[in-house]
Symmetry: C2
Subunit: 309 residues, 2 copies
C-alpha cells in the first residue's frame, strides 16, 4: 500500500457544559486527504483545494503534525500530502483538527500502524497548537475516535470514548464571520464563581450518565453552559435567537461549537434535527451574513480510510 | 402496619472531585430508628440513644424533615420516633442526613408509600438544612437511594443513580475532632481558577464513566480534588500522611468525607480496603486524637426496613 485516501471528519468541541474536555464527531462534513509514500524523504504538501492554506509543512497544521510523527519515527521513506478541504478554517467545527489528525492517520496506515489512536492524537496536538496557539485535544479526540469523547487530560493524554445514543443527531449552522480561537480564549475570565463551576460539573457528570443510559431527557437538561457561553455568545450574531428557536423546534440543547462562530444543536431523531435546521436557516436568511448548515448523525467511527492502493 | 424499624446508612459526600454533587452510601455504619403511628396527631421524638440531641421536633433534624412531610400530607394520625444514633453528629459521614431521611422514609412506609424516594428526599432537605445551614442533598441522596448518586440540581431536585462497580470498598477514619459544616463552607473561595474548574469537571466526567464501565484505573485517576481539598484539608490533622499511606497501601483514592473530619478511601477489593484501614489506624495511634474506622462495601440498597409490625 503506497497511497491512501481518507475522510477526516468535522467535530464539535465543548458540547455546552464540557468546555475544553468534551467533543463529538460529525458525519456529513469533513475533509478528504490523499497521503502517498515517496522515496524522497520528508513531508511535502503538494496540493491544497478548497481553501487557501500554506504549502510549507512547518506552517500547515497537517504538515506540523505529520512532521511531529515523521521526526519521531524516522521512517525510510517520505510522504506527500494532498488536502481537499471542505471544512472552512475558522468555522468552529474542527477544521484544523481534521487536518491535524488526517496526515498522521494516513501515514500510520501506510506504515503498518505503528501507533495507536491515542499516540496519533499526541502528534496531532502539535498541529492543532499551530492554529489555536495552545495545546488542546477536544476536537482532535472525536475526529480520531468518533462518537463522544472526553479528554480527561492533555498531559499525559487520556481520551475516554463515551457511548453515543443511537438516535442522536446534530444540526450545525456556520455563519460566515471570523472569530479567532486565540481571541475567543482571551475573553474568558481567569476565575469563575465556585457555584457556577459546581453547576457545570454537575452537568458534565449528568451528560456522561445520560449518554451511557441513552436518557435523552437527561441529555437535554445537562446541555447548559453557565461558564463560557455567556462570554462568547456576544461574538455570534443572532445566537440567542437561534438557540431559542432551536429549543422551540425540539432540540435537546443548543450552544456554541468550539469557540464559534458555528452553533450546534443536538436532537433526538433526524426529523427534529431537520426542523431545527429550518429554523436556524430562517433566522440567518433575514441577515446579510452568508451561512452553511449541516445535519448529521453522530459519527461513531471517526476518521476513516476511503480507498487505498 | 403500625410500627417500623429502619436502618439509615452513613454516607460520604463530595467523593473528591464531585464537591456538592456526588456521594456514596455505606453498609457497616448507620442509625436505627423506630417510627410508630399514634392516634394523637403530630410528631413526637420519644427516645434518643447514642448521642445527646434535642427532643423538640422543631430542633431535631429527623423532626424537621418529619414535620415537613407531615404538614404537607396532613395524615389522620401522628407519629412517634425513636432514634438509635450510631453515626456521631459532626463526623462528616452524613449523620444529619441519616436522621433526615430516616423519619420520612419510615413514615412513608407506614402510610402506604404515598411518596417516591425523590419526594422523600425533598422533605429531608428541610431537616438537613437545620444542621448545615444550607439546603443540599449530597448526603441525603445516597442515604435514600444507595450506591453512588449525583445530585444534578437541588431546585428542582434531580437525583441520578450511578452504577456501583462490584468490587468497590470504602475505608473511613473518623478522627474525633470538631469541624462545623458551616465554618468549613465559609473558608471556601467564592471564585476558583477556570483551569482548576476544567480539571475538576474532567474528573467528574471520567469518574462517572469509570463507575459505568467498572474501570478501576479510571476511577483511581479521577479521584482528585483541586478545588476544595487544598482549603479544607488543613483542618484535619495528619490528612496528608493518611492520604499518602492510603495510596501506598493500594487505595484508588483518598479524600475528605463531606466537610470532614472523616477521611474516606476507595479501594478495589476488601483486602486492600482493610490494608488501608490498618495504615490509617497506625497514623492516628501515634496521636492523642481518638478515632474510629470503618470498612464497608458500597451499600447499593440505601435506607431499608429492618422489621415491622
Amino acid at each position: 500500500m503506497n497511497e491512501i485516501k481518507i475522510f477526516s471528519p468535522a467535530t464539535v468541541a465543548n458540547v455546552s457544559c464540557g468546555f475544553d474536555v468534551l467533543g463529538f464527531c460529525l458525519n456529513s462534513v469533513g475533509d478528504e486527504m490523499v497521503i502517498r509514500k515517496t522515496s524522497e524523504k520528508g513531508i511535502k504538501i503538494i496540493r491544497i483545494e478548497g481553501f487557501d492554506l500554506p504549502f510549507e509543512a512547518e506552517k500547515n497544521v497537517a504538515g506540523v503534525s505529520a512532521l511531529a510523527m515523521y521526526n519521531t519515527l524516522k521512517p525510510d521513506c517520505g510522504f506527500e500530502i494532498e488536502i481537499y478541504k471542505f471544512i472552512k478554517p475558522g468555522s468552529g467545527i474542527g477544521s484544523s483538527a481534521a487536518s491535524a489528525v488526517g496526515s498522521v492517520f494516513g501515514m500510520n496506515e501506510l506504515l503498518g500502524k505503528p501507533y495507536n489512536r491515542t499516540e496519533l492524537t499526541e502528534f496531532s496536538i502539535k498541529g492543532e497548537a499551530l492554529a489555536s496557539k495552545c495545546e488542546h485535544a477536544d476536537n482532535l479526540a472525536p475526529a480520531m475516535f468518533g462518537g463522544f469523547t472526553l479528554v480527561k487530560s492533555v498531559c499525559p493524554l487520556e481520551i475516554l470514548q463515551i457511548p453515543t445514543p443511537h438516535h442522536l443527531y446534530a444540526t450545525i449552522i456556520h455563519p460566515q464571520i471570523e472569530i479567532k480561537t486565540a481571541e475567543s480564549r482571551a475573553i474568558l475570565p481567569k476565575e469563575v464563581p465556585l457555584q457556577d463551576a459546581i453547576t457545570q460539573w454537575a452537568n458534565v457528570g449528568s451528560l456522561i450518565h445520560g449518554l451511557h443510559t441513552s436518557n435523552y431527557e437527561l441529555i437535554k437538561s445537562s446541555l447548559h453552559d453557565v461558564i463560557v457561553e455567556p462570554h462568547r455568545s456576544q461574538f455570534i450574531p443572532n445566537f440567542d435567537e437561534v438557540k431559542n428557536e432551536a429549543l422551540v423546534a425540539g432540540a435537546l440543547g443548543c450552544g456554541i461549537s468550539g469557540s464559534g462562530p458555528s452553533i450546534f444543536a443536538l436532537s433526538e431523531g433526524f426529523d427534529t434535527a431537520k426542523k431545527v435546521e429550518a429554523e436556524m436557516k430562517k433566522i440567518f436568511s433575514n441577515t446579510d451574513i452568508a451561512f452553511e448548515t449541516y445535519v448529521s448523525k453522530i459519527n461513531t467511527e471517526g476518521i476513516k480510510v476511503l480507498s487505498s492502493k
